[in-house]
């Protein structure tokens, strides 16, 4: 994985000291809240319901054991013993003290981490396939490109005061595990008919109060010109964005207003301009960055056999372990979704265990997923049983990847100032309702995603079954949505009808699932059945 050079380290260290001085001035009263707020947000520090919240960037979701141990140390020393993995492959701490925030950033800097651009009107943490570098079906590792784009855009003057936040994702597989088309700008690495590497470029996606699925605006951009193309997209947005209206500032609104063709035309025009400027990544720079992502020294001659004599272990393998590109190796998913737990939450002790496992069994690599789980990307199949035993002892051997209890939930009204309703209790009650393993397996792949407000941090638009919490005359109310997808078959979920209270929404979800079980044909997932039969049979089941 990427290692800071002297310039990276100097920039991050300088930023820490700058923020330490800004914090001191705020505490001493030399800065007002209005003056300080944009400064703290540029360093990932929010003020939430109960305390300050610090969002730490995990570039493209990749971590090593040293970093994970530092995250555990921060949770234990500066927070209340836990952290929360987010839908942007970041981690958040919920109980931060302002006067300790600079010390936390200094601690993060010692392990090449920071909280820069995890908030504010900037290019946010660039996300990627959590199986990058390990997936059996990838063209190449997308992370060198993600890192190059990260470096080129961090502190870039044109991108430091954007109209609004801007989210980029990069993948290199036909299967989309990164919710690609729900991003402002999304890149899929492909080969053209000549075998040359390039990108499919999507633009104008996003969730929030006005959801849009990104258009494919270029089916092949040569890899060597991708930064010119990204700059062209951002330039068009910067030129025309509605800076006068916060609800219309995201690029998706501009793309929608201009229309796909006109947006594409303007981007192509700017692209030709940027090509003359010579701002693309030099091959030598790509090579330098790519060297950090050289595949680990996989052993050869390993067996692909897994001893499945322990039935609980076999169940975990069947659900949580997926194919790796190297023979004898596997990708192990660690679910952070225990029944009755809080999706994405992990204790300091669990973080340390996972760090130990990564160091010992996964070439010191870990991944955070946008579904709020973790991944050990490179484990020998012969080590899986030992890994599972350790995870099981720590409460981390949950079996539910992509099942009904693998629920995305934003922090909701339990933590978030923007939220209108609580998300976590709804996730917990649904998980409890479907806790039975046989029932989960019978239902099969089903992605439930819950947001506590219209900002959609819980990705409800992209859910097979989505739930949106709203405020109805001071009480929590939940809308039910069906038919969304964040995968390669991207679609936007539609609202079923009137909302429910907390108990009612759980019942409505159950009625929806039971109707699916009645209607499904062999091999159909929930989403397949919904797409075949439409909304009406489900509305009938939900509302009678």
């Amino acid at each position: 994985m990427y290692k800071y050079d002297q310039y990276d380290q100097a920039m991050v260290d300088a930023r820490v000291e700058e923020f330490r001085d800004q914090t001191r001035r705020r505490i001493e009263g030399h800065l007002t809240d209005d003056q300080f707020k944009p400064l703290r947000l540029k360093n990932g520090l929010y003020l939430q319901l109960h305390a300050y919240m610090l969002r730490v960037a995990i570039p493209y979701g990749t971590l090593d054991s040293r970093q994970m141990r530092k995250l555990a140390h921060i949770a234990r020393t500066y927070d209340r013993g836990y952290g929360h993995f987010t839908t942007r492959q970041n981690i958040q701490y919920n109980w931060i003290k302002l006067d300790e925030a600079p010390d936390i950033l200094a601690e993060l800097a010692t392990v090449e981490m920071h909280a820069i651009q995890t908030s504010g009107e900037s290019i946010r943490n660039i996300s990627a396939d959590q199986y990058a570098g390990a997936a059996a079906d990838e063209i190449c590792d997308p992370r060198p490109w993600a890192e190059l784009i990260r470096q080129a855009t961090t502190f870039h003057p044109e991108f430091s005061y954007l109209p609004r936040k801007f989210k980029i994702a990069v993948i290199a597989t036909p299967e989309d595990r990164a919710a690609l088309r729900w991003h402002d700008c999304a890149l899929r690495i492909v080969h053209n008919e000549k075998g040359e590497e390039g990108f499919e470029v999507y633009a104008g996606g996003g969730m929030g109060r006005t959801p849009f699925i990104a258009y494919l605006i270029r089916d092949f951009c040569p890899a060597k010109h991708i930064f010119s193309y990204i700059q062209a997209i951002l330039r068009v947005w910067n030129l025309h964005a509605r800076r006068d209206n916060i609800h219309k500032q995201r690029m998706k609104i501009l793309v929608h207003d201009l229309g796909e063709e006109e947006f594409r035309r303007q981007v192509e025009e700017q692209f030709q301009h940027f090509l003359t400027l010579g701002t693309d990544f030099p091959q030598a720079e790509y090579d330098r960055i790519a060297a950090y992502f050289t595949p680990p020294p996989f052993e050869t001659g390993l067996s692909d056999e897994i001893d499945r004599s322990d039935p609980d272990f076999a169940l975990w393998v069947d659900r949580q372990v997926v194919a790796h590109k190297a023979p004898g190796y596997a990708i192990a998913n660690i679910s952070l979704k225990p029944i009755s737990g809080i999706p994405g939450d992990i204790s300091a002790e669990q973080m340390e265990l996972v760090a130990d496992l990564a160091e010992k069994y996964s070439f010191d690599e870990l991944r955070a997923t946008h579904v709020q789980n973790l991944v050990l990307p490179h484990v020998r199949k012969q080590d899986l049983y030992t890994i599972w035993q350790a995870l099981d002892a720590a409460g981390l051997a949950n079996v539910n990847l992509d099942l009904v209890t693998d629920i995305i939930a934003c922090p909701g009204l339990d933590y978030c100032t923007l939220a209108n309703a609580r998300s976590i209790p709804v996730a917990q009650k649904i998980a409890e309702r479907f806790a039975d393993m046989d029932r989960q397996l019978d239902v099969g792949e089903l992605k439930i995603k819950i947001s506590g407000c219209i900002n959609a941090c819980g990705h409800h638009h992209a859910a097979h079954i989505g739930i949106l919490g709203v405020d109805r005359k001071g009480t929590e109310n939940y809308q039910l949505l069906l038919g969304g997808s964040g995968a390669e078959d991207t679609s936007q979920a539609k609202i079923t009808g009137p909302g429910f209270d907390e108990a009612g929404i759980v019942d409505a979800v159950e009625r929806t699932i039971e109707r699916y079980r009645e209607l499904r044909e062999p091999g159909e997932r929930f989403l397949d059945t919904y797409r075949r039969v439409g909304m009406d049979p489900f509305k009938e089941a939900i509302y009678g």
Binding site: I27, L98, L413
Partner: protein, 99 residues
């Protein structure tokens, strides 16, 4: 009644105006009445509170003050999903006061 709330500048902890200063406990909140704006302006300028604002609340029979909106009741107690981290971890009825 109107009560005042905000966050402590250094800790971010939720605080309530008790007539003389800022308390961690909503039970100690007092009606700010027509002085709300003046109090908030003075306290904000002195950095004794961060992001202060006035909310509607109701006095209860037991003398406690109950914010009208669930968001402020959650602020007053703590996250409903982590009772161990609330101000009343040993009170089994604390959650029902919020909801």
């Amino acid at each position: 009644m109107k009560i005042l709330t905000g966050n402590d500048l250094k800790t971010g902890a939720v605080v309530w105006w008790d007539g003389n200063g800022w308390s961690l406990h909503v039970e100690e909140a007092v009606d700010a009445g027509e002085h709300a704006d003046v109090i908030l302006a003075t306290e904000t300028a002195a950095c004794r509170v961060n992001g202060g604002y006035a909310i509607d609340a109701e006095p209860e029979a037991d003398g406690r003050v109950r914010p009208a909106h669930i968001k402020d009741r959650i602020r007053a107690l703590g996250p409903t999903v982590r009772p161990d981290l609330t101000l009343k971890p040993a009170d089994p009825n604390a959650g029902s006061w919020v909801i």
